[in-house]
């Protein structure tokens, strides 16, 4: 397989796979946060901060794939 063709197939696929992982992670985080919120509404501000930080970590994985795509995009040909 040619290198550009491999890149053209692999880059979008990689982003999609990374997005699946991040989506699952963010989904779990959101689920946990919602449940905690429902149980104890008074911890809302603290919970939100922790939740957003967690989102940041989970989302970063997709962003890494995204950035990799931008760096390699020019070589697809």
């Amino acid at each position: 397989m040619l290198f550009p063709a491999a890149l053209g197939l692999g880059l979008p696929l990689g982003i999609g796979l990374a997005a699946i992982g991040s989506g699952i992670g963010i989904g779990f985080l959101g689920k946990g946060a919602m449940e905690a919120m429902g149980r104890q509404p008074e911890i809302l501000p603290k919970l939100q901060v922790a939740m957003i930080i967690g989102f940041g970590f989970a989302e970063a994985l997709t962003i890494y794939a995204f950035v990799t795509m931008f760096f390699l995009q020019g070589r697809i040909g």
Partner: protein, 464 residues
């Protein structure tokens, strides 16, 4: 504002707007083609004279003073405006297009203001209180104005129809090659070819005002320097904006704050509260950096929403610089608070027993790599988010431009504008959340480095 002479305000507004537009246009053209800039300004000046003298004449006429003064005014006006135009064209050797553009600007502005008035889109006071009066008295001035506008358009068309005159010359200047490149890139009307060429990542960008300035003045060294270093320029603009807002808000701090001071204080205090929840009482010492990071990044991100501006954070250079500042700050305070030995101990994973010492060759590289990964992840996260959001908008704008090029304007513009506006809302959200995440993660990294109770230390290790 003047009730006695209604109709004056809309003309005044139109003239003021047209002066601004003419100055902006002239400034854009000036460094490369000073003669054209001068022609635009001359045209604007003549049109301004035309309108002011026309107003005077109409006033004299309606007041019933049809004497020698009126005749003198009319004669002076005709000589000044039309004679000036003729003299400029025949003697001055000015090109037609910039002169006509300058001359047409007030007409255009008046036309636009009238449309706004008719649609009821003007300021509330204009439509509610003065609409009828203004429209009635405007009729007097608008009819000759529209007549002259049509005359001007006809003259322009006639001139352009002549072989080898101005317009063809202008078209040759417009560099068809770059235009084709822009079309190929999917941004016919909006994205310039240059934007694609100057981007290292190979992805399209909406042109900002520096790129447009560079397109108009390709040879100017200052402009090309600005264009080459646009990330720095936009970071400066954001920084200046940030400084200006803080200075304006805190110029005369009062015990009972005014609305502006109140808003700024509320923002700063709520941010301090959020970070203080993580960092505890030490927030007082570290908030200057963390708060500055948050508000600076927020300003930079938000700048990208304004058309013609660019988020400087959509370049890895700036985000990496911010992340390195954070990294050095965190390491510095780690060494300062723990001491050299304590810092090394922290990096080694605080070995206290035989198993800890045995794990040392594994734990030390892992911790060092973890520390080094922090700035990389911080910068890539911010860059990727902002850049991705910008690219998304560029793709939709480019699709709109392609549809416009296929003359599907009615089909293209309304839904596409709606979708783009939706993504811009998303961009606002991303801007705030990413600025928040950057500064919160900086706080968390700082928190991991600072000495605290035993259970907090274990938590910090889990997060590594």
């Amino acid at each position: 504002m003047d009730q006695a002479r209604p109709g004056r305000d809309i003309l005044d507004r139109a003239l003021r707007t047209s002066w601004l537009a003419a100055l902006a246009l002239a400034a854009t053209v000036a460094p490369g083609r000073p003669r054209d800039a001068a022609a635009i300004l001359a045209g604007q000046l003549l049109a301004f004279l035309h309108f002011t003298s026309l107003r005077k004449i109409v006033k004299l006429f309606t007041e019933g003073r049809r004497d020698r003064r009126l005749a003198l005014m009319i004669a002076a006006k005709v000589t000044l405006v039309y004679g000036g135009l003729a003299a400029l064209i025949t003697l001055g050797g000015v090109r037609y297009v910039p002169l006509c553009a300058g001359f047409a600007l007030p007409f255009l502005m008046l036309f636009l203001k009238s449309i706004m008035l008719a649609l009821g889109a003007g300021p509330a006071s204009l439509t509610a209180r003065r609409a009828t009066e203004t429209a009635r008295s405007l009729g007097n001035a608008a009819k000759p104005a529209v007549f002259l506008l049509l005359l001007g358009v006809a003259a322009l068309l006639a001139f352009s129809a002549l072989p080898g005159v101005a317009l063809a010359d202008e078209a040759a200047h417009g560099a068809p090659a770059t235009h084709d490149a822009a079309v190929a890139h999917g941004g016919a009307a909006v994205a310039h070819g240059d934007a694609a060429q100057h981007n290292e990542e190979g992805a399209a960008e909406l042109p900002n005002w520096l790129v447009i300035l560079h397109d108009f003045n390709p040879g100017n060294p200052l402009v090309s320097w600005l264009e080459k270093n646009q990330v720095i320029v936009f970071a400066w603009i954001a920084g200046l904006l940030f400084l200006l807002v803080s200075w304006l808000a805190m110029r005369k701090p009062k015990m009972v704050p005014g609305p502006f001071q109140n808003a700024v204080e509320w923002m700063v205090e709520s941010m301090e509260e959020v970070c203080g929840g993580l960092l505890g009482p030490q927030i007082d010492k570290h908030f200057p950096l963390i708060g500055a990071l948050f508000f600076y990044i927020l300003t930079i991100n938000m700048l990208g929403i304004i058309p013609g501006m660019k988020s400087a954070t959509s370049s890895l250079d700036l985000t990496l610089a911010l992340a390195l500042i954070t990294f050095l700050y965190v390491q510095f305070w780690g060494i300062w608070n723990l001491g050299i030995v304590g810092y090394l101990d922290h990096l080694a994973g605080s070995p206290r027993d035989a198993i800890g010492w045995a794990m040392l060759p594994v734990m030390l590289p892992v911790h060092v790599l973890g520390e080094l990964a922090k700035p990389v992840s911080l910068s890539c996260r911010l860059f990727g988010n902002i850049f991705g959001e910008d690219t998304l908008i560029v793709v939709f704008v480019g699709a709109t431009a392609l549809l416009i090029k296929a003359s599907l304007v009615a089909l293209a513009v309304p839904p596409m504008a709606g979708i783009t506006a939706l993504f811009m809302m998303l961009q606002t959200l991303t801007s705030i959340v990413q600025a928040l995440i950057f500064s919160l993660l900086a706080t968390v990294y700082l928190y991991m480095m600072l000495p605290h109770e035993a259970h907090a230390h274990e938590e910090a290790h889990e997060t590594h």
